[in-house]
């Protein structure tokens, strides 16, 4: 069953990395409901992309592993539902 997930991706702030993530979701035809991307306030070398994705648990787990292996990606944080996305717009959410 499909549902909402909030995925935060912490990555080196290089050109293309956001496109690479979006490609990974598009390839599996995963709907992107919301997207915010920004540089860390205290470290412009690190960027954060936060997505609300609508897909199945299984697909989410598989695509997350594919995103995590991108060279620039440091780590990801996954939340059930879309609430985490809206909790602090533009700010990093505490790891869960």
């Amino acid at each position: 069953m499909k549902k909402d997930f909030t995925l935060e991706v912490f990555a080196e702030n290089n050109f293309n990395i956001l496109n690479r993530m979006i490609n990974a979701f598009n390839r599996r035809r995963i709907r992107i409901k919301y997207l915010t991307a920004y540089e860390m306030e205290d470290d412009f070398h690190t960027g954060v992309a936060r997505f609300v994705l609508y897909t199945t648990e299984e697909n989410m787990s598989k695509v997350r592993a594919q995103v995590e292996k991108f060279i620039e990606v440091e780590h990801t944080v996954l939340h059930d539902g879309a609430e985490a996305y809206f909790s602090k717009p533009g700010k990093t959410i505490q790891n869960s």
Binding site: A65, I71, E74
Partner: protein, 582 residues
């Protein structure tokens, strides 16, 4: 634009302090520092400064001018797969770069290390639809392990160091470095440091010994274990580790298409080749084993057939270096994230010595059945047209399996994979995941340019040959000693087979009217022979192997031959058929 300055390169081997070099020269110096021996490429406007710098370094690095950028990248793939190190490609911007895309896709899915360097329009022209500008970065994202665009000359050494490290480490793959023309002309103080670490990149995961212990316990308890060996064995250089593991556990081993040559086919524990057109035994036995031990393979759909009917009765141990492969297609009971050789060594030390004779007997029975129903007819026909199987069998006998076989895509590829007796690692070069027709001819060039003493034999169908045959020009120019065998059935044979089996024999646009291949090849001054008579096959192949330079053989084969056994598309592996029942 300091173009005049660029034309003055090269600098001394170690430029004095304060003397800077061009970005273009830095590119070549990086390649020399990475001990690159051969570059495959094609020049054009946006990469001219790099080619000009290369002109001054011809004594240190070899360049092969192919006839098409696709030829260059497939050649680099063949080189990389045999040499076990990154193949290097040069191409210009725009169409030069887009012509690399098929090869990048092929290398990405088949985990082949490549470093592709493309020229790009000057940075102030980016996004302006300038002449031969294309957005190569976005085009190549899905088909590269990593790509980067360089607009400042001083960034070139670090980018190329990263490129080589990323291409070769962990699960290898293709990378692309796009360098704008102004960055090629710009100056920098050259200082090259090999890259060995990146903050956000963990190419080889730390093996969890608890998982290894759990796997060893499953193996010791198993009555019918079955090793599925993928290309990870070859990438890891783990053939000996696999043999030691299989022998200690008394476990049968089967190879995937890309895993072929990772385990000797004459070993008593060899259980055959997996997949849609693989051997009967391994496909049937996958649904009878009680434990699957998958090593460096990704459960491709051509291996599993319908996953809902695949190995449901078995526990699964999955060993892979790439975390994203675990549970992607087949759920693992135990997953070991590690380099294949490291994991196999750890397992070997933990499992008890064992044999599984009744289980091995199952493989032998299926092998006998397949031999009697299919192989005998393929290898030893006495009447009718020449069969693909007898050509490959003869070639295998004549070489003793000690040759590098480069295959294209289609029926001939499946027949070659079934019947060539691979003995040594890295001797099977084929386009597996992407299934790229046109791969073999250029890939065989790259394979033949790796120093070694094994003959390189390209097996190609008449369709695939005509997709990249312009590379005959490259073979002629550099006298690359590839032996080319075209198995000509005047059909796109595999598609025709499917049309016959699944589309009521409606041969929709699969028949080909071909040119005189011998005359065509002779126009490139390459010796060429046609074989239509079975009696001539042995003397011609013997002569081909005796010759030192390039040689071409066209074998006219049975026009509507089918490749069996076969797992019909969408069926389970147990539904493998040995013949076509109308």
């Amino acid at each position: 634009m300091p173009q005049k300055d660029a034309l003055l390169t090269k600098t001394d081997s170690k430029p004095p302090k304060g003397v800077s070099i061009t970005g273009a020269e830095a590119v070549i110096r990086c390649l020399v520092a990475e001990q690159v021996e051969t570059i495959f490429g094609y020049p054009g406007g946006a990469i001219m400064p790099i080619y000009d710098a290369l002109f001054h370094y011809m004594d240190q690095v070899n360049h092969i001018l192919t006839r098409h950028e696709q030829g260059a990248i497939h050649a680099a793939q063949g080189y990389a797969r045999v040499a076990g190190k990154p193949g290097v490609v040069f191409a210009t911007s725009g169409p030069g770069a887009t012509n690399l895309v098929t090869g990048l896709g092929d290398a990405m899915i088949d985990s082949t290390p490549l470093v592709c360097i493309t020229g790009q329009v000057a940075s102030h022209l980016l996004g302006t639809d300038a002449f031969q500008e294309t957005d190569v970065m976005n085009i190549t994202i899905p088909v590269t392990k990593w790509n980067v665009q360089i607009t400042r000359s001083e960034d070139i050494p670090e980018a190329l160091a990263k490129a080589f490290y990323i291409a070769r480490s962990g699960r290898p793959g293709p990378v692309l470095v796009d360098i704008t023309k102004d960055a090629q002309f710009g100056k920098l103080d050259f200082n090259y440091r090999t890259c060995t670490h990146l903050r956000t990149y963990r190419p080889v995961p730390e093996m969890d010994l608890k998982e290894v212990d759990a796997a060893a316990a499953l193996i010791d308890a198993s009555q019918k274990p079955f090793i599925l060996a993928g290309q990870g064995i070859l990438l890891s250089g783990a053939t000996q580790a696999l043999i030691a593991f299989a022998e200690k556990g008394g476990i049968p081993v089967s190879s995937t298409l890309l895993g072929l040559s990772g385990f000797p086919t004459d070993h008593p524990l060899y259980g055959g080749y997996l997949g849609m057109h693989g051997n009967y035994g391994p496909n049937k036995n996958i649904n009878q084993c009680d434990l699957v031990i998958a090593v460096g393979m990704r459960f491709d759909d051509r291996v599993t057939g319908d996953v809902s009917k695949y190995a449901l009765q078995a526990r699964v141990i999955h060993i892979d270096i790439d975390r994203a492969e675990i549970n992607k297609n087949i759920k693992a009971d135990v997953a070991i994230l590690a380099d294949a050789g490291e994991a196999l060594a750890a397992l070997t030390s933990r499992i008890r010595a064992n044999t599984h004779e009744p289980w091995m007997e199952k493989f032998r029975q299926y092998k006998k059945e397949e031999y009697e129903k299919i192989v005998v007819k393929d290898w030893f026909p006495t009447t009718g047209e020449i069969k693909m199987g007898e050509v490959i069998h003869l070639l295998s006998e004549l070489t003793g399996g000690h040759a590098i076989l480069v295959t294209d895509v289609g029926q001939h590829q499946m027949v070659a994979s079934r019947y060539f007796g691979f003995r040594e690692p890295r001797t099977n070069i084929t386009s597996g995941g992407l299934g790229t027709m046109g791969f073999a001819l250029p890939a065989s060039m790259g394979a033949a340019l790796v120093p070694g003493n094994k003959p390189v034999i390209a097996i190609i169908g008449d369709g695939g040959f005509q997709m990249t045959l312009q590379e005959l020009g490259t073979i002629f120019q550099y006298q690359i000693p590839v032996k080319i065998i075209v198995l000509n059935n005047n059909f796109l044979g595999m598609v025709r087979q499917w049309q016959q089996l699944f589309f009521e024999s409606r041969y929709s646009f699969t028949e080909m009217v071909n040119p005189d291949f011998v005359k065509l090849v002779e126009a490139y001054h390459i010796p060429a022979v046609e074989v239509t008579d079975r009696a001539n096959l042995l003397p011609v192949l013997t002569e081909m192997l005796r010759r030192e330079g390039p040689y071409f053989v066209e074998v006219k084969v049975e026009k509507e031959e089918n490749v069996f056994p076969m797992v019909p598309s969408g069926a389970g592996v147990s539904d493998m058929i040995l013949e076509f029942n109308k």
